[in-house]
Amino acid sequence: MDIFANVLLGFQVALQPTNLLFCFIGVLIGTLVGVLPGLGPVAAMSLLLPSTFHISPVAAIIMLAGIYYGAMYGGSTTSILVNIPGEAASVVSCLDGYQMARQGRAGPALGIAAFGSFIAGTVSIVGLMFLAPPLAEMALKFGPPEYFCLMLLGLIILTFLAGKSMPKALIMAAFGLFLGLIGMDIMTATPRFTFGFYFLTDGVGLVPVVMGLFGVSEVLLNVEAGIRRDVFKTRIKGLLPNRKDWKDSAWPIVRGSVIGFFLGILPGGGAVIASFVSYAVEKRCSRYPERFGTGVIEGLAGPESANNSATGGAFIPLFTLGIPANAVMAMLLGALIIFGMQPGPMLIKQHPDLFWGVVTSMYIGNAMLLVLNLPLIGLWVNILKIPYPVLFPLILLFCLIGVYSLNNNTGEIGLMLVFGAVGYIMKKFNYEAAPLVLALVLGPIMENALRQSLIMSNGSASIFFTRPIALVIMLAVITLLILPLLPWVKQKREALGEIAEDE
């Protein structure tokens, strides 16, 4: 069978010593940034992007992907032991995970989080292998109007799910779109909004913006809050969950894997939403929902599986359509473009070694993570003990080096600092950064698709409503824009926003 040969090809690529090494480096760094609060996978990926220019594109993507799913593993450690989410998708894991640790069950909690993540990661990789190639075939039928509608849908879903206020999230998306348009216009070679800064001719760089919004601003907020961490002081023993733990967790892991995978595919969905939904589902399925939040293993196993499974799903729109589902995938898209690969439906056909190599490397990476996380847990706990006053100068230093070495341009350091300040103020005023980043990446692609569509239709916007696929997508867009106005949906969204804000 075709897929069998492809998987073999994938393993051939992924098992090459250099690729294995970079897979290992990726998951190791991923676990590290996952463990450390205030440094997420997006910042880490943009930090390491410049250093990947010396290695092959396949090894680079393998490493960057490893950072993403590695961070999901690492994040749970911090949630369970410190009650601070190591990264956003582990917020829910604090609820029952930390309670388990306080009851002296830190071992099984860490254990089930790691095993659940491993199982879910595996499930989503298998899903990715079977779903992506046929979807890419289908996507070949898409023209510029369909692409434009799809990207619009992605942005709208993200703003629909992000936080409390949809208009505010939409402002962020529109502003991101505008930032994406800064620089040389592709069709007429007119420099737009560069205000005489030469480095802006190429456009506003993704890396400085992301490092500013997710790296520098996060540091500024933490410095202001003066965060202190109390690592749960206990000897962690017995990492293996017992038979009852397994029995209780089996279905939550299965449900979490499925929920995570499909929510991961949705543009704008991703790991954070998946973990929240999984927690809600487990609570509803449980015979004792009132005990959730007091250290119930189901409340940890489900969301931890879901956030890992979502990482696999999130690769689908990137590899089949060339559309990133979230900010992390936007980074990967940026990397693919830098390496001269055209993301889109032809990617799997043109670069089978890349697609299958990365997918199978994720399988190997998941196994590595299990080894990294269970026996080496003591190491991560020690890293958690580094006080923040010592840690934050180092985080800033890495951001500075990372952003400079991308183009050797001091102007981009300045740009990062500007976006650091912007991100800090945005967080104060409750504006989400994720829609901005996604729109920034999509901006030039969307503009191209829009112009081509309008040229095709001789200037009539009806092209978006007369082609069947485009029409369906546009209807979804309109539905999502109208839904929040309905009273009961409004209440639900506000409730979700409040949960997210409380954490």
Partner: protein, 151 residues
């Protein structure tokens, strides 16, 4: 002005209109052949429109707050200090060179949140600066600026 959502919406209204205004300069083109200013103009209008929506939404809300409420807790002077140090670092980057510039920055930042002896700070700064110089400059061959002393 009732709350901070309203204040920020006024900012976005101004920003959106400014974007739309400047886009017009680049040429909007026509619907059948959109020019370089076409999509920026649209996004400017969308931002301005959404800002009006946010403003109007808040009219019915009862929450009142001042802008200073956002900075009431926490140590905002420390944030300004860190930001100032980063700006100075950037300005001196080419002149001092990576190594020298980094050492003073790290030594300074290590003391910002909690008092720490200068000796410890300097050791940490030299370690961090030297270590990153070894990794990024000598091993990964990133071309960090050398500065007036030549390293």
């Amino acid at each position: 002005m009732k709350n901070n959502d309203q204040r920020s919406s006024l900012f976005w209204l101004a920003a959106g209109l400014a974007i739309a205004f400047y886009s017009e300069k680049y040429g909007l083109g026509s619907f059948s052949s959109p020019g370089p200013g076409f999509l920026p103009f649209l996004t400017g209008l969308v931002i301005a429109g959404l800002a009006v929506v946010v403003f109007l939404q808040q009219l019915s809300k009862s929450s009142r707050e001042r802008m200073t409420d956002l900075w009431r807790q926490g140590r905002w002077p420390t944030v300004l200090t860190v930001m100032g140090a980063l700006v100075l670092y950037t300005l001196l980057f080419q002149f001092l060179g990576f190594l020298l510039d980094t050492v003073w920055l790290i030594a300074f930042l290590l003391r910002v949140m909690e008092p720490m002896s200068w000796k410890k700070c300097l050791i940490g700064a030299v370690g961090a600066g030297g270590g990153s110089y070894l990794i990024f400059q000598l091993w990964l061959k990133a071309q960090l600026p050398a500065g007036f002393l030549g390293f």
